[in-house]
């Protein structure tokens, strides 16, 4: 066991390569109970790879990864399901763990897709499927949630609601979350720790610290830096393109 009982997963100088090409290298981070760690970075910067290292999907890695829990919920970025399987939402929910019917209903209600319970998984839209994926991951009440772009394809209002849900789940279950997101706006308001990747860790720290970092600015531009620092206040309105407050 680690000295700190709250640590769920810990990466130390972790890296992974395929055919001598490093996908990501030298990543050190840890996810603790009740904390949200967010990975940001441009396309191909190794965010998903880092998540898969943390999950133990990639085995031949450099460095070390220590996982202190087996109760893991995972929402992968891409999932290809073979439709030769007759699979309903309900069957999918109990894929890795047997759950009570009420538990399934509760999770599906939380993500707003309870009405799809008996539908064939192949008949869902992208956004609906994403909500089912999230429901499945949270339904088993995991210690560690790894969410790789969990709201992709979800409509705008749904996106905000789901991020709020993720934050709420983190608090209620006291679970640790490793989150990957492109949406700097929504994510930063809830994140405890940000790791900015670009093939390696280019900077990490609290959202405000990262926003001030020069490497971060170089990677995402000056504007992104302002987004992060603006999250000192609670965002309860929507901006128009010109930055004015939008009236509903």
């Amino acid at each position: 066991m680690s000295a700190n009982q709250n640590i769920l997963v810990k990466l130390k100088d972790a890296g992974f390569k395929i055919n001598d090409k490093w996908l990501v290298q030298g990543v050190s981070l840890q996810v603790e109970k009740g904390k949200i760690v967010t990975l940001i970075g441009p396309n191909g910067s190794g965010k998903s790879t880092t998540a898969k290292i943390a999950l133990g999907i990639y085995k031949k890695i450099e460095g070390a990864v220590e996982k202190f829990t087996n109760k893991v919920g995972y929402v992968p970025q891409k999932i290809s399901i073979d439709w030769t399987l007759p699979l309903r939402v309900n069957d999918f929910m109990v894929l890795t763990e047997n759950l009570k019917s009420e538990t399934i209903d509760e999770a599906l209600s939380l993500t707003g897709v309870i009405h799809l319970k008996d539908k064939n998984l192949g008949d869902l839209s992208g956004g609906e499927f994403q909500r089912v994926l999230l429901a499945r991951a949270i339904s088993k009440k995991p210690d560690l949630l790894v969410l790789d772009e969990p709201v992709q394809g979800v409509d705008f209002t749904g996106e905000i609601a789901l991020y709020e849900l993720i934050k709420k789940i983190c608090d209620e279950l006291d679970c640790g979350i490793l989150l990957i997101s492109h949406d700097l706006h929504t994510v930063m308001s809830a994140t405890d720790h940000v790791v900015c990747l670009n093939g390696h860790v280019c900077c990490s720290g609290s959202p405000t610290d990262v926003a001030k970092n020069d490497e971060y600015k170089a990677l995402f531009g000056e504007q992104a830096s302002q987004i992060l620092s603006r999250y000192e206040h609670k965002h309860d309105h929507i901006h128009t393109d010109e930055g004015k407050i939008k009236k509903n």
């Binding site: 898969k52 999950l55 133990g56 999907i57 087996n70 893991v72 919920g73 995972y74 992968p76 999932i79 290809s80 399901i81 073979d82 030769t84 399987l85 007759p86 699979l87 309903r88 309900n90 069957d91 999918f92 894929l95 890795t96 763990e97 064939n120 088993k140 790894v146």
Partner: protein, 267 residues
């Protein structure tokens, strides 16, 4: 009651169908039809070795098929050849070696047709024991690894990430495939075993909405095929394997009408 060859064949066939039903679903879901074929082809080698060394046929087939499966896994790791090429390579090589060995065994009278297509006259009480005990063990193990195997069939990374150890489940499943081929070879014959695995399961896919239903329908389909096939085999004096598989194929065709209905309902 097992004095009558036909009763023996029927009991044997029912035992085989109970096991090929669920296993066949996984063969379809995991796209292993040609893998099954390869193991079945290698069974000939197993049979010939059993004759040369006066060894139990089912056990010998099981050992050879398992070895071929392990060889395949190793070759996949160590070569850049595509999977289907490796399957073809192993299937035909082992079939050829098996036939060459038969050529040397001139001192034994060989019923090669029975071997290839199944022979209901040849089912003994010992075979019944092997089928039912072996079958029960296969089903028990399949039940134990169901969760990780099914989860990794749906999505490997989810199963791995959530701690289900899919690699172990896959390895065990491979051994189960070798075992079902070993116990069903006398009934269906080595050329048609894969048919017994996939055709009832394919029929079941057409009419089922959940994985559990597919397994149940696949078993029922297998049982019906065995019963229909064996009675017609007796009636028309045909080999048992082809008769059973033809019956399964007829059931598959009937199931196609059910799909048409479902598609109509949807629109």
């Amino acid at each position: 009651m097992f004095d009558d060859f036909f009763i023996r064949a029927l009991v044997a066939g029912i035992g085989v169908a109970l096991v090929t039903g669920p296993l066949g679903c996984f063969v379809i879901w995991r796209r292993l039809s040609y893998f099954g074929d390869t193991l079945a082809h290698s069974a000939l080698l197993g049979v010939t070795l059993a004759f040369t060394m006066e060894f139990n046929i089912a056990l010998s087939v099981f050992i050879i098929s398992s070895l071929i499966a392990l060889t395949l896994i190793q070759l996949q790791k160590r070569t850049n050849l595509p999977g289907d090429a490796l399957l073809g390579l192993l299937a035909h090589s082992s079939l050829a070696v098996g036939l060459v060995v038969i050529g040397f065994l001139t001192f034994i009278r060989f019923d090669i047709m029975g071997l290839l297509f199944g022979d209901i006259l040849a089912v003994t009480v010992d075979d019944l024991l092997i089928i039912w005990i072996g079958g029960a063990i296969i089903l028990l193990i399949l039940k134990l690894i169901w969760k990780p195997l099914f989860a990794s069939t749906v999505n490997y990374e989810l199963a791995e990430a959530e701690g289900l150890n899919p690699d172990r489940a896959k390895a065990i499943f491979t051994i189960l495939m070798a075992a079902i081929i070993a116990i069903s070879i006398k009934m269906v014959g080595l050329l048609l075993i894969t048919g017994m695995l996939i055709i009832p399961a394919a029929m079941a896919r057409n009419i089922s909405t959940s994985p559990q239903k597919m397994v149940v329908y696949s078993i029922i389909g297998g049982l019906l095929s065995v019963i229909l096939g064996l009675f017609s085999s007796l009636e028309f004096n045909t080999s048992s394997g082809p008769s059973i598989i033809t019956a399964a194929f007829l059931l598959f065709i009937i199931s196609l009408f059910k799909i048409k209905q479902t598609i109509k309902l949807k629109n």
